[in-house]
């Protein structure tokens, strides 16, 4: 127990907790926008930022935040102008970021080893001032994620519609990008740049198996992220394994353990569906007239599952589909 109460351990646990809270909050927006890999892209760009800090002798966290924001804006610009698809834009930044970082670090003369604590995290050697910066940035990210939730949700959910309610879609997309960039810089010391995206996405994947809504997904993901981050640091303290990788593996274990339960929940939810919409088929299908007597007229409340079928509605009746046609029912 003494180990867990040591000052460096408390700092590590605090840094892990705020990362575990902030990363999934932003991750929920990224998953909603189908940009799950954006965190990775920004993480790679951050390598250049860190290297710039090492080269110029300034704080690598500061340069990382600045370069990450520039990279995020660049991704958003490429994506919104449609010059390249989102994933190509991300790929370009992946490679540019890593290559630029390696080049700058070799110029600085301290080799790739200097980068290692940023690539894989170094939460156990984090300084009090670095913890303070992490907490402050995480608070900013969390406040914005929640205060602007209705607007950010609307833009991520249906960009065109959001525009017709007078929202500045570009502004809110930039806000999400900047939040992602700041989060990556916060998580850099905890899980490292190469694994930062995992803490943004895996908790969301875990939470959305069970949640019904966007807000509950976000809150659930924040709980899952915090548990994984704090648990991962705790495990690594006793087992003497690297904390960054442990946090990610604990997070993945959480997803794997809840997946069977999630499958059950999903299946029960699917059963609530009125009935899957059949693909429209322009070719007339063979129709058989059903002779069996009908005690009732099929309708919205007759109890038989309704299926949309082209221009009309069929009703499932004893394992086949009935369609009202004139005075009788035809079987499809």
């Amino acid at each position: 127990m003494d180990l867990l109460l040591a000052p460096f351990m408390l700092r590590a646990l605090l840094a892990a907790a705020v990362t575990g809270l902030a990363a999934p909050a932003v991750g929920t927006y990224l998953v909603q926008r189908r940009l799950s890999l954006m965190g990775d892209g920004i993480g790679h760009v951050c390598v250049t930022g860190v290297a710039l800090g090492l080269l110029t002798g300034t704080s690598p966290t500061l340069t990382a935040v600045i370069v990450a924001i520039l990279g995020a804006l660049l991704i958003e610009l490429i994506r919104s102008t449609g010059k390249a698809t989102g994933d190509v834009a991300l790929a370009l930044l992946f490679y540019g970021g890593i290559a630029g970082g390696l080049l700058l670090v070799s110029l600085a003369g301290n080799g790739v080893f200097a980068l290692q604590q940023y690539l894989f995290g170094s939460i156990n050697t984090i300084s009090p001032s670095a913890v303070l910066v992490s907490v402050a940035l995480a608070v900013v990210v969390l406040v914005l994620s929640f205060a602007l939730l209705p607007q950010l949700f609307s833009v991520a959910n249906d960009e065109d519609y959001a525009r017709t309610t007078g929202l500045s879609v570009r502004f809110y997309n930039v806000v999400i990008s900047v939040l992602a960039a700041v989060t990556v810089s916060v998580a850099m010391r905890t899980v490292g740049l190469l694994l930062v995206s995992a803490l943004m996405i895996i908790p969301v994947a875990t939470a959305q198996q069970f949640s019904r809504g966007f807000r509950t997904t976000m809150l659930g993901a924040m709980v899952a992220g915090t548990v994984a981050a704090v648990g991962g640091v705790g495990v690594s303290a006793f087992a003497d394994v690297p904390p960054g990788a442990t946090i990610v593996l604990v997070s993945l274990a959480g997803f794997a353990l809840t997946a069977p339960l999630g499958l059950v929940v999903q299946r029960r939810r699917r059963a609530l569906l009125p009935f899957p919409v059949q693909a429209l088929s322009p070719v007339a299908e063979t129709h058989d007239t059903v002779e069996e007597p009908h005690g009732h007229e099929h309708g919205p409340r007759c109890g038989h599952p309704a299926v949309e079928h082209g221009d009309h509605v069929d009703y499932i009746h004893h394992g086949h589909r009935h369609a009202s046609h004139g005075g009788h029912y035809v079987e499809h």
């Binding site: 909603q32 205060a147 209705p150 007078g166 929202l167 809504g213 966007f214 949309e308």
Partner: protein
């Protein structure tokens, strides 16, 4: 009639990827009118309404909403757009109430929590489409028709004066079509201006006061719905009374087999 124009489209053209989709269209809708935009697939009706609500830039002409040119238009709470339902699944689950609440954002300021009036507007909108009991359900568990009703409720939550709907009956079961027709009729009775893109009048036939028929990006009919050309007319070569029929000279492509 001295009622003001709510929508005024003057000589508007829209080109998508360099291809003209909407050409030289004039359309004026007065307050309280219920107008159907009809036409075959690809006739430009969806593109036209998207241009009217500011989602497609104009290549020519101008659009005014409530007497303001679109570029200067800021009273977005007066406009309610219902996009065509897209089947694409969302990344994160969202509840019916969350989606409908997005329609209220035209009347809310950023950083301000929802007020009582906002929550009441969302409840009323859900009531209007008959989905109050589904408010806490994930959107992904709804049928196509219910989903379309959610999109309409989202727009109603903003309490707009002008409603622009894009094919609200496409892929929608009959029960939902009736529910949608009922909702729109009561809105029209309350004085809302409605522009609705339709493939056919269907359940909405009773409430439509005016039909505008598009063909290849041009207006070919504008008048009472009962006189509008039928689907059959539009799929065949015909000529308008005002313009002589276009007779194409016989053309032969270079590689056509010579007769």
């Amino acid at each position: 009639m001295n009622t003001p124009y709510i929508v005024e489209v003057r000589r508007a053209g829209v080109a998508l990827g360099g291809r003209p989709i909407v050409r030289d269209i004039d359309l004026a809708v007065r307050a309280g009118e219920v107008v159907a935009l009809l036409g075959a697939n690809g006739s430009g009706k969806s593109t036209l309404v998207k241009a009217v609500v500011g989602l497609h830039p104009l290549s020519a002409g101008e659009v005014q909403l409530f007497g303001e040119p679109l570029a200067d238009f800021h009273e977005w709470h007066r406009l309610g757009y219902v996009p065509q339902r897209s089947p694409s699944a969302q990344g994160v689950p969202s509840t019916v109430a969350e989606v409908v609440a997005a329609g209220r954002l035209s009347r809310r300021r950023p950083f301000m929590p929802a007020r009582r009036s906002d929550r009441e507007a969302v409840s009323r909108a859900l009531d209007a489409v008959g989905l109050r009991d589904r408010a806490r359900h994930p959107v992904s568990t709804l049928s196509g028709g219910q989903h379309q009703r959610v999109l309409i409720a989202r727009t109603l939550a903003g309490e707009p004066e002008l409603l622009v709907l894009d094919e609200p009956n496409a892929g929608v079961d009959l029960a939902s079509q009736e529910a949608i027709a009922g909702t729109l009729s009561s809105l029209a009775a309350e004085g809302a201006t409605i522009v609705v893109v339709l493939h056919e009048l269907g359940h909405l036939a009773d409430m439509i006061q005016r039909s505008v028929v598009l063909r290849e990006g041009r207006v070919v009919y504008d008048g009472p719905p009962q006189d509008s050309p039928t689907e059959h007319d539009l799929h065949h070569e015909h000529h308008r009374p005002s313009t002589p029929p276009v007779v194409h000279p016989p053309l032969k492509a270079p590689l056509d087999r010579r007769a």
